[in-house]
C-alpha cells in the first residue's frame, strides 16, 4: 500500500514537472547530460548551463590523482590562449575527485595556474550521466552540443589530434 502511494506521488510529481518544463528556460544541449555540479566556491550549477555561443566546447573529465589527466591539461594550458584566439573553443574541466580529495582541487588548479572552468562532480553524477568509465575522458562538442570526438586515455601528442578536429569544426562554418 505504502509503495503504491509512493509511486503515485512520483507520477504526480512527474506530471507537475512536465507542466513546468514548457516554462523552463534551459533545454538539453545536444549530448550534454543533465546533472548538478558544484563550482569551486560552493555554488550548485546545472550542466544545462554549459554553452559556448555556438562555438566548439570541450568537456574534460579528470581527477587530482590521475597523472595522465594532469599531463593533458598541463600541455593544453600552454596552448589554451592560442586555441581560444583561433577557434573560440572553451574547455570545461570536470573533476571527479570525491570528498576525500575534492578539497585539493581548488588549491591544485590555482597552484598550477590553469585557466579552465573547473567544476566538481563529487559523487560522479555527471560522469555517470555521460557514461564515462574512467578518467581521462575528453569530449569535443560542436556548436550544437553534439559529440564529434572523444578519447579515453592520454599520451603526449593527443592534443594535436584534438586541435585538428577543433579547427575543422570552426572551418565548416
Amino acid at each position: 500500500m505504502k509503495k503504491n502511494w509512493l509511486s503515485f506521488v512520483f507520477i504526480l510529481l512527474t506530471g507537475f514537472a512536465l507542466a513546468q518544463d514548457t516554462a523552463s528556460p534551459k533545454t538539453k544541449f545536444g549530448d550534454v547530460a543533465i546533472a548538478n555540479l558544484k563550482t569551486l566556491d560552493g555554488k550548485t550549477i546545472s550542466s544545462l548551463e554549459f554553452r559556448n555561443d555556438g562555438k566548439p566546447m570541450i568537456i574534460d573529465f579528470w581527477a587530482t590523482w590521475c597523472k595522465p589527466c594532469i599531463n593533458e591539461l598541463n600541455t593544453i594550458q600552454d596552448r589554451y590562449a592560442d586555441w581560444q584566439e583561433e577557434t573560440g573553443v572553451k574547455i570545461i574541466a570536470i573533476s571527479i575527485d570525491d570528498s576525500r580529495t575534492s578539497s585539493s582541487v581548488a588549491p591544485f588548479v590555482s597552484g598550477k595556474g590553469w585557466e579552465y572552468e573547473v567544476y566538481l562532480d563529487i559523487n560522479g553524477d555527471f560522469k555517470r550521466a555521460m557514461n564515462v568509465n574512467n578518467v581521462p575522458h575528453v569530449f569535443l562538442l560542436d556548436g550544437n552540443g553534439k559529440i564529434v570526438l572523444q578519447h579515453n586515455s592520454y599520451t603526449p601528442g593527443d592534443e594535436d589530434e584534438l586541435y585538428e578536429k577543433i579547427k575543422l569544426l570552426t572551418e565548416k562554418k
Binding site: 560552493g42 570528498s99 588548479v109 590555482s110 597552484g111 560522479g124 579515453n152 586515455s153 599520451t155
Partner: protein, 549 residues
C-alpha cells in the same frame, strides 16, 4: 507476491516510456536530443599456478568480470539498465558477486529545478558522513539505492533532496530500509542583497535513518537508527573554510562489537588560493561511525555512509605499498598540502617554470577510556587525541620541464604505517619507509614519446627494500606499450626476493580502449581514488576492453 508485483509495475512503466518515445519517432515529429548511449567494460584473466609468490589456486583457470550500461535519453527523460556478470569474479573481487543479473535499472526525469528517479540511484549528502551511495566498479564497490529519489531547487541557492529505499548487496537487496532528507542553502544566491557581498556563506543539514528488525535473542537492539549532520561553507576572497559535523545515534553493529555508544565525526577544511599558489589544511575526528544498513554487514558491503580519508592518495607503485584507509571505529588527525608554480624566467623557475607540491599528514587513534561491564563500550574526550599512531606521511615533489623535449619529476616520500591497525593483522610492526622516485617524459617527436620511472623504497620492516623500474612507449593517439618490474631485493628471506614484472599493450580509439597484459603480480592493495581493495598475488594474462558508445 507484493515485491514481484511492484517490479512488474516498474517494468511496465519503463516499457510504456519506451513505447511513448518510439511512437513519437514514428509519427515523424522533430525529435531533438534523443539517443541511446552507454558504456561497457569486460575484463578476463587467465591464471597460471605460481605458488612461489603465494598466488592462490584458480580451478576455473579463467575468471572474468563484465558490465554494460545502456541508457535511453530523450530530452529530460532518461531510463537505463545495467547488466553485470561475474563468471567467476576475478581474484580480489568479493566472491559473493558470483553470477549475472540486472542489479541496476531506473527511470528518471531531470530539468533545471527538479530531478525524480524511480528504481536505482546514487546520491551523497554533504561530504558523505551520514549518507553516500556510490559506485567504484574497479573495486567492486556498489551500494546503489533501490527506491524513490527526488531533488528540488526551491529557489536560487536553495536545494532539497529526499529519498526512501533499500541498498544493493551483490545481486540482492539488503534487509535495512534507509530514508533521508537534505537541504543546502547558499545564502548569497538566495538573498538578493547579498549577491555581491565579498563573504559567501552556505549552510546545509541532513537527516538519515535506517530501520532493521531486531532479531537478536540476547540483546535489545534499536530498530530505527537516526543520524544527523550539519555543514557550512564560507568563502572570502582567497580563503575558503568549510566543515561538517555528524552525529549517529546508538547503533550496535558487528564493526563496533555491538556497543551502544553513539557516534560523532567532525571534518574541517581550510584552503587558500591565488594564481600560482594553493594551500589546504584539513582536520578530522571520527568516533564510532561505521553505519551499515545491515548491522551484520562489514567492509564494503551495505555502507550507508562514507568517511573520507584526509591523507593523500599516491599513484606511484611503491608508494601504494602502504596506503591509508579511514578507520571507522575512530581516528583523529590533520593533513596539509601546498602547491606552487615558480614562473618561467625566474631563478628557481628556469626557462619553463617549475611546479612544487608538498604535503603531509598525521593520524592517530582517538583517546578511549573503556567502561567496564557496560554496553556503552568506552568514553572519549572530543578534544583529546589517542597515543596510538595510525599513519604519518611527508611528501615533496618537484616537476620541471628541462627543455622542449624533456620533463622531469622528482619525489621523496616518508611514510609511517601502522600495519597492525590498517590491515587488521596481529603481529605486524609499525612500518617506516622512505621512497624516492624519478620520472622522465621524453618526447621523441610529435607523435612518439617515452616515459621512464625509477623508484626505490627503503624500509627495515615488513618485506624490506624494493626497487622498481618502468618504461612506457606511446604512439599518439592509438598505442601505449608498458613494461615494468618491481624487485623485492631487500627481503630478509633470500628465496622471496622476487621480480614482479608486467608487460602491457593498449590500443585506444575514440571512447574505446583494449589492453592486453601479462603480469607476475605481487599481492597488494589496488587503490582507485581513495578506496582500496586487496588483490592477491597472481601470474597470468589479462584482457580488458572498455568502451563508451
Amino acid at each position: 507476491m507484493k515485491k514481484s508485483q511492484l517490479r512488474l509495475i516498474k517494468l511496465v512503466f519503463i516499457l510504456l516510456l519506451f513505447t511513448f518515445i518510439f511512437n513519437q519517432k514514428v509519427t515523424a515529429q522533430v525529435v531533438n536530443g534523443s539517443n541511446i548511449s552507454g558504456n561497457l567494460e569486460v575484463s578476463a584473466q587467465y591464471y597460471t599456478p605460481d605458488s612461489a609468490i603465494g598466488a592462490p589456486d584458480v580451478p576455473e583457470s579463467v575468471l572474468s568480470n563484465g558490465f554494460m550500461n545502456v541508457n535511453f535519453n530523450y530530452q529530460n527523460f532518461t531510463a537505463g539498465i545495467r547488466y553485470e556478470s561475474y563468471l567467476n569474479p576475478i581474484l580480489g573481487f568479493d566472491k559473493q558477486y558470483t553470477g549475472s543479473g540486472i542489479p541496476f535499472r531506473f527511470a528518471s526525469f531531470t530539468n533545471e529545478n527538479l530531478k525524480v528517479t524511480a528504481g536505482n540511484f546514487y546520491e551523497q549528502f554533504g561530504n558523505g558522513l551520514i549518507f553516500r551511495s556510490y559506485e567504484e566498479r574497479s573495486l567492486g564497490i556498489d551500494n546503489a539505492m533501490d527506491g524513490i529519489y527526488a531533488s528540488y531547487k526551491v529557489t536560487n541557492g536553495a536545494n532539497f533532496k529526499g529519498f526512501v529505499g533499500r541498498q544493493r548487496s551483490y545481486f540482492e537487496i539488503g534487509p535495512g530500509l534507509v530514508r533521508g532528507i537534505d537541504g543546502d542553502f547558499q545564502l548569497n544566491d538566495m538573498i538578493k542583497a547579498w549577491e555581491a557581498h565579498k563573504l559567501r556563506i552556505g549552510l546545509g543539514g541532513s537527516f538519515v535513518s535506517k530501520y532493521q528488525v531486531d532479531d537478536s535473542q540476547s540483546r535489545i537492539l534499536p530498530e530505527n537508527v537516526g543520524a544527523g549532520a550539519g555543514r557550512f561553507n564560507l568563502n572570502y576572497g582567497n580563503f575558503a573554510f568549510d566543515g561538517e559535523y555528524a552525529f549517529k545515534a546508538n547503533d550496535p553493529n558487528i564493526v563496533n562489537e555491538f556497543i551502544y555508544k553513539n557516534g560523532q565525526t567532525l571534518l574541517l577544511n581550510l584552503a587558500y588560493t591565488k594564481k600560482g599558489l594553493g594551500a589546504r589544511v584539513n582536520a578530522k575526528r571520527v568516533d564510532n561511525m561505521a553505519f551499515h544498513s545491515d548491522r551484520n554487514a562489514t567492509g564494503n558491503n551495505l555502507n550507508v555512509n562514507y568517511i573520507p580519508a584526509i591523507t593523500r592518495q599516491y599513484t606511484y607503485r611503491l608508494a601504494t605499498l602502504y596506503p591509508y584507509a579511514t578507520q571507522p571505529n575512530g581516528e583523529m588527525g590533520i593533513a596539509g598540502e601546498f602547491f606552487y608554480s615558480f614562473k618561467p624566467n625566474t631563478k628557481l623557475g628556469g626557462e619553463y617554470g617549475t611546479f612544487i607540491n608538498v604535503n603531509g599528514s598525521a593520524i592517530n587513534d582517538i583517546e578511549r577510556v573503556p567502561i567496564a561491564n557496560d554496553t556503552l563500550g568506552y568514553t572519549s574526550n572530543f578534544f583529546a587525541i589517542g597515543d596510538t599512531k595510525f599513519y604519518q606521511d611527508f611528501n615533496f615533489e618537484v616537476s620541471k620541464k628541462l627543455n622542449k623535449k624533456n620533463k622531469l619529476i622528482l619525489t621523496y616520500l616518508y611514510q609511517l604505517y601502522n600495519k597492525n591497525q590498517i590491515e587488521g593483522k596481529i603481529d605486524d610492526k609499525m612500518v617506516t619507509s622512505h621512497i624516492a622516485v624519478a620520472e622522465l617524459i621524453h618526447k621523441i617527436n610529435t607523435k612518439k614519446s617515452l616515459r621512464i620511472e625509477a623508484q626505490h623504497l627503503l624500509t627495515e620492516q615488513d618485506h624490506g627494500n624494493w626497487m622498481m623500474g618502468l618504461v612506457e612507449y606511446s604512439i599518439s593517439p592509438r598505442w601505449l606499450f608498458t613494461v615494468f618490474d618491481e624487485w623485492n631485493y631487500g627481503n630478509k628471506k633470500a628465496a622471496q626476493r622476487f621480480n614482479y614484472y608486467t608487460f602491457s599493450s593498449t590500443y585506444v580509439k575514440g571512447g574505446s580502449r583494449i589492453t592486453l597484459a601479462y603480469a607476475r603480480q605481487r599481492a597488494g592493495l589496488l587503490c582507485v581514488g581513495g578506496v582500496c581493495r586487496f588483490v592477491p598475488a597472481s601470474n597470468g594474462v589479462t584482457l580488458t576492453i572498455t568502451s563508451r558508445f
